[in-house]
C-alpha cells in the first residue's frame, strides 16, 4: 500500500513525461511534413538512377565474390522499429552471403546501426557515418558518403542499399535497392543497344548513380523515421494519460482511506476516554 507522497511523486513525474512526449510528437510532425515535401522531388533522382538497371536488365553474375551492404538509418532513437528492422535485415543478409561463401562488408549510415552491429558483426563494418538525422539530408551528404565509399578502396562487385521506404504516415517498409560495380555494368550484353557509351562515361555514370541512390534512400529513410517517431510519441502520450487516470483514482482512494483511518483513530481514542 503506497503512501500518498509516493503516489504524488509518481503522478508528477508521469505528467512531466506526458508533456515531453507530446512536444516531441509536435516537433516530429513538423519535421515529417517538411521531409515529405522534400521527398517528392527526391524520388525522381532515385527512380531515374535505377531506371537504367531495370531497363537494361543488368544482373550481377552469380560467381562474384565481394559484396557491399549499405544500411541507411539515423543517430536518434525513440522512433519505433526503424533501426532494428534495418539491423535485422543486415544481419540476415550477412549470414546468407557468408554461408554462400561471399565476402561481405557493411557500411552503416547513422550511429544506431553502428551500435547495433558492432558487438556481434563488428569485423564486417567497413565505415560508419554519424550526424545523420539532426538536419534533413542534402545531396551534399550523399556525395560525402559516396566519395568516402569510393575512396575506401573496397572493390565490391555487387551491393545493395537497405533503407526504410516511406509508404504512408503510419507505414513504412524495409526495402533493398541494388548497386552494381563498373565491371558488371560494362560487361552486361544489353548495354550494346545504347549509343555513345564508352568506359569513361560509364564510370562517371556509376559514380553519380551511387550518389543518387544514396540521396534517395536518405530522403526516404528520414521521412519514415519522422513518421515512426510521431506514432511512437503519440502512443507514449496516450499510455501516459492512461497511467495518469489510473493513478489519480488510486490517489483519491488512498486519500479517502487515510482520512477514514484518522477518523477511526480519533473516534476510538475519544471512546477510550
Amino acid at each position: 500500500m503506497a503512501t500518498l507522497k509516493d503516489i504524488t511523486r509518481r503522478l508528477k513525474s508521469i505528467k512531466n513525461i506526458q508533456k515531453i512526449t507530446k512536444s516531441m510528437k509536435m516537433v516530429s510532425a513538423a519535421k515529417y511534413a517538411r521531409a515529405e515535401r522534400e521527398l517528392k522531388p527526391a524520388r525522381v533522382y532515385g527512380t531515374g538512377a535505377l531506371a537504367l538497371y531495370e531497363k537494361a536488365e543488368i544482373k550481377a553474375p552469380e560467381d562474384k565474390k565481394k559484396h557491399l551492404l549499405i544500411g541507411v538509418s539515423s543517430d536518434r532513437g525513440l522512433c519505433g522499429a526503424i533501426h532494428t528492422s534495418i539491423a535485422k535485415t543486415l544481419k540476415n543478409e550477412i549470414t546468407n552471403l557468408s554461408n554462400a561463401g561471399k565476402e561481405v562488408m557493411v557500411v552503416g549510415v547513422g550511429d544506431k546501426i553502428r551500435g547495433l552491429l558492432q558487438r556481434t558483426h563488428g569485423n564486417y563494418l567497413l565505415l560508419t557515418f554519424k550526424e545523420v538525422g539532426r538536419r534533413p539530408p542534402s545531396f551534399g551528404d550523399a556525395s560525402v558518403i559516396a566519395s568516402e565509399l569510393l575512396n575506401s578502396g573496397y572493390e565490391f562487385d555487387e551491393g545493395s542499399v537497405i533503407y526504410n521506404r516511406f509508404r504512408s504516415v503510419i507505414s513504412y517498409k524495409t526495402d533493398e535497392k541494388p548497386i552494381f560495380s563498373l565491371e558488371t555494368v560494362a560487361g552486361s550484353e544489353s548495354l550494346s543497344i545504347y549509343d555513345d557509351i564508352d568506359a569513361d562515361v560509364l564510370r562517371n555514370y556509376q559514380e553519380f548513380t551511387l550518389a543518387n541512390i544514396l540521396y534517395y534512400s536518405l530522403k526516404e529513410s528520414t521521412t519514415s523515421e519522422q513518421s515512426a517517431r510521431m506514432t511512437a510519441m503519440d502512443n507514449a502520450s496516450k499510455n501516459a494519460s492512461e497511467m495518469i487516470d489510473k493513478l489519480t483514482l488510486t490517489f483519491n482512494r488512498t486519500r479517502q482511506a487515510v482520512i477514514t483511518k484518522e477518523l477511526i483513530e480519533i473516534i476510538s481514542g475519544a471512546a477510550a476516554l
Binding site: V109, L127, F129, L150, A186, D198, E207
Partner: protein
C-alpha cells in the same frame, strides 16, 4: 569478359568489343572523381548566383555527415 582495363592513370579507354578509343576527361586524368567534379561545378554555380538566391542555395547544399572509421583492435 570485359576488355576495358582500368590503368592507374589511363589516357585512352576502349569499350568491350567496340575497338574505338575515347579520351578520358581532363579532370579524371587529374585524379578527381565525378562526384568531386560535380561538387566543384555546383560550388562555382552557387558562388555566381545573385545574393537573394545564393543564401538559399548555400543552405540547401550543406553537408553535415561525418565519417567514423572503425578502430582495428
Amino acid at each position: 569478359m570485359s576488355s576495358a582495363v582500368v590503368l592507374p592513370f589511363p589516357v585512352a579507354l576502349t569499350l568491350p568489343g567496340s575497338g574505338a578509343a575515347a579520351m578520358v576527361a581532363y579532370w579524371r586524368q587529374a585524379g578527381l572523381s565525378y562526384i568531386r567534379y560535380s561538387q566543384i561545378c555546383a560550388q562555382v554555380v552557387r558562388a555566381a548566383m545573385k545574393p537573394q538566391y545564393k543564401a538559399e542555395a548555400e543552405r540547401a547544399a550543406m553537408a553535415t555527415v561525418k565519417t567514423v572509421k572503425p578502430k582495428k583492435e
